[in-house]
Amino acid sequence: MPKPRIHHLRTRIALIFTVLLLVVQLLGYASVHSLIASAARRNTDEQLQVADRVFGQIVQAHRDRLTQAAAVVAADFGFREAVATHDQGTVVSALRNHGDRIQADLVMLVGLDGRLVADTRAQEADDRLFAYPDLIAQARRRGNASSIAQLDGRLYELVVVPVRAPVTIAWITMGFLIDGRFVDLVASTTSLDVSFLGRSSKSDWRVLASSLPSGAATALPQAVGDGLAMPSHNAGLELAGQGYGMRVVSLHAGDEPVVAVLQRSLADAMAPFVQVQSTLLLLTLAGLVVSVLASLLIARSVTRPIDMLTRFARGIGEGRYPPPVVLARQDELGALAHTFNHMREALLEREGRITGLAYQDALTGLPNRARFHDHLQRAIGDALGRHATLAVMVMDLDRFKYVNDTLGHPIGDQLLVEVGERLRAALAREECTVARLGGDEFAVLLPGGDADSALRTARQLLQVLERPMIVADQLVDISASIGIVTCPLQGDDAATLMRRADIAMYAAKRASAGCLLYDAGHDTHTPERLSLMGELRRAVEQDHLTLHYQPKVDLASGDVRAVEALVRWEHATRGFIAPDRFIPFAEQTGYIKAITRWVAGHAIAQCADWQARGMPLAVSINVSARDLLVPELADTFAALLREHRLDPAWVWIEITESAVMDDPAHALTTLERLHGLGLRLSIDDFGTGYSSLAYLKRMPVDEIKIDRSFVMGMAEDRDDETIVRSTIDLGHNMGLKVVAEGVENQQVLERLRELGCDLVQGYLLSRPLSPQQLEAWLPQWRKRSAPLLMQ
């Protein structure tokens, strides 16, 4: 039962733990990330503000230094002298010379009237107005002035100081180019990128100097855009794919404004945090791995015992009893394991009890059918393995139902207990199993037994049972029938052996033989029997059976007024099949009911036909023990009589004595109903069963038929003659007609007449005849034989 792994408890526990931890870690990571980002931004802002001040200070310091330097130069006597007294060429060269001393990039001399006197950039001053009158005015007020200004597209720090002689005679303006060096100085001092941007009279902003790479510097004005007009204000900036914090510092307002853009790379600002962050990320990942492993371990510590317990419980469920679970834990799982072990003990104990009940017959304490079956199977395996034999006996008590019915079930049960004890005692020394299969059926397994030893044992058992039994102060006579099979001769599986033993037992019971070894002839279920069964069924359905009628002769008048209907089966290929070859077989299978119905139907039809044709003959119909157990038998006969409008007095029912004695109570009920219809009853084979005269007395019988074995033997055997005479006397004393069957010679006939027998039947008189033969035979008999008989 492979399930998706996610259904495993272990996986789910691990998953939940991991997801929770992941969420916590991610939240932590995200909050740290946002803290870091905002810290970096704040940091950048602060840096920019500080940088703004620092930048201002640098610019101021630079300015001061330059101013000082310019002032020193302006105070130089020689310079002043040159400026004051010499021609322009000299003045310009003096400007250059003294400018060079302090590395000024340009020097201009401005007259008090605000016009250029000399300019190092040009040979001729052209009397131009100095472009920065404000600076002069400022210098006049404060003694010096300075500003950042654009000249010729370059950026200069302009410093104006007076030339005094000793009163101010002119203004000297020195310009210091703001170039890469200065920018780099500022950039390295502030740790920022610095760019100077300027614009001349409404033209676009241009980068005049920058610490940025040239590509980025070119893109800067566009990127900053309107921000250039908003000095002293922090803003964000996207430049060349990088984020910056930015601050614009105004350096010079007016028509040609100059600003400085201070930039702080956010990536640089983040750099220290990124280190922290990547460490944190590493820690997060490591934590995750550890937590997954830990949760797997925890889950395993939970699920492994659960797996163990599951296997254990499955083992118990499958009936194996695995050894107790050992789980040395004090927690709930430990308690569960303890409970499981306890359950295992309890189950074992209870199963033992249940097994005992399941395999033991509660009444006799003998093994029951199930256990016997187990033993038998083991013994078969054993015997087959060792090439040995074994024997099985099935025993059924005779007339046990009768005992139960007459003496009551409690006594029946005591009888069974007594039988069980006797069997056990008799076989105590044998290596065998005695079992009660149910009801009054017992079985014995004889390992190593063969047919001879089994027969010996069976007879011994029968003797043991024949000893009088006293149950509840009642003397009970009991006998049994035993069927015997041996393995492997008559089967090598338990089912076959038991079935065949059963069959042999029934055969023994029918034959009143005590015990019988199984013979294939007993078996209705052999293939030959099965096909016979099918053919018999067809024969009934297609009227292939015929009825023959044997006359019953009245010894007093010699007349024939009754016949016995006997069934005949003329098989298409097998020829004539004797009734004793298919009637017992039909009785065993229950098909006899169909046959009985067929016979009754035809016999009654024939009888009615004879009546109609002026041949009044009573017809006897044989009914089997099985038929008697069916309450509807009487209804069947009633319907047939109605159908053929026949007086019931013309129909006789013949039943064997043993058929009644198998189950006297049921039989009696059926017989009374038949008699109630007006039918006559006759007891067949009288003297062979164990008829109780009490029953005979209660039965609505009109006639008894002495069994042919006594009649045939009476000529030679005095005992048989005694039985015949006693039976005739008994019948007459009870007001019954007596019929003798099997009359085959004149001597017997004469003796029967002397004894007062009422009717005779036998080959001496006539064998069974077909209706046509009978119709032909009857006039002849009346004309010739009857007078002969009567002489």
């Binding site: 021609d87 000793p166 009163v167 005679i169």
Partner: protein, 219 residues
Amino acid sequence: MTSLSFATASPWPLPARSRGCAALLLSVLAACGAHAAGVVVQVADQRGAPLADAVLYAVPVAGKAPAAAPGARAVIDQIDREFVPKVSVVQSGTSISFPNKDDVEHDIYSFSPAKRFEIKLYSGVPSRPVLFDKPGLVVLGCNIHDSMVAYVLVVDTPYFARTDKNGRATLQALPAAGYRVGAWHYAMRDPNAQPVQTVQAADGATPPALKFSLTTEAN
């Protein structure tokens, strides 16, 4: 073009141009007689405050003023690192000596076109006085002490005066004639914009006082 636009470089005795001068041109009183007369002048700044150390000089409208006597002398001391007096006015041809009365040396110079000179580091009285032979403003400084400054206005007339602390001065002993009176003060915003007033000096009669208002530098 060689003309340096020095304020002091204007041609003297009178300014050729008086551009932007806010000074009032007062009515010129008739001067009578040939006898010397004194003209009182009151000088104030643009706010009306009396202006000390303003220089006033009168140039005859017609004819020439008498030349300076040969050997005319003047003295400008250096005391406590200051020129004393700070403002002098002399007639051209006057020799000025610069006695150093400090215990440190001075090195006085002038780059003014009217008189360029330098007296190298010295103490005591230099051996020779310096002759101021051209009219014009001469600004003196000390090469050692930048704060030292002195103004010497050299004029071509013997008639000049300096205002006292009340801004008053008197041009003494003017022969009766018509004069153009110029006024100058070292703190004037435009040194070349000297206002000029005309006055008639008459013997025995005192002409009405002249009033000058000069625009000075803020401080």
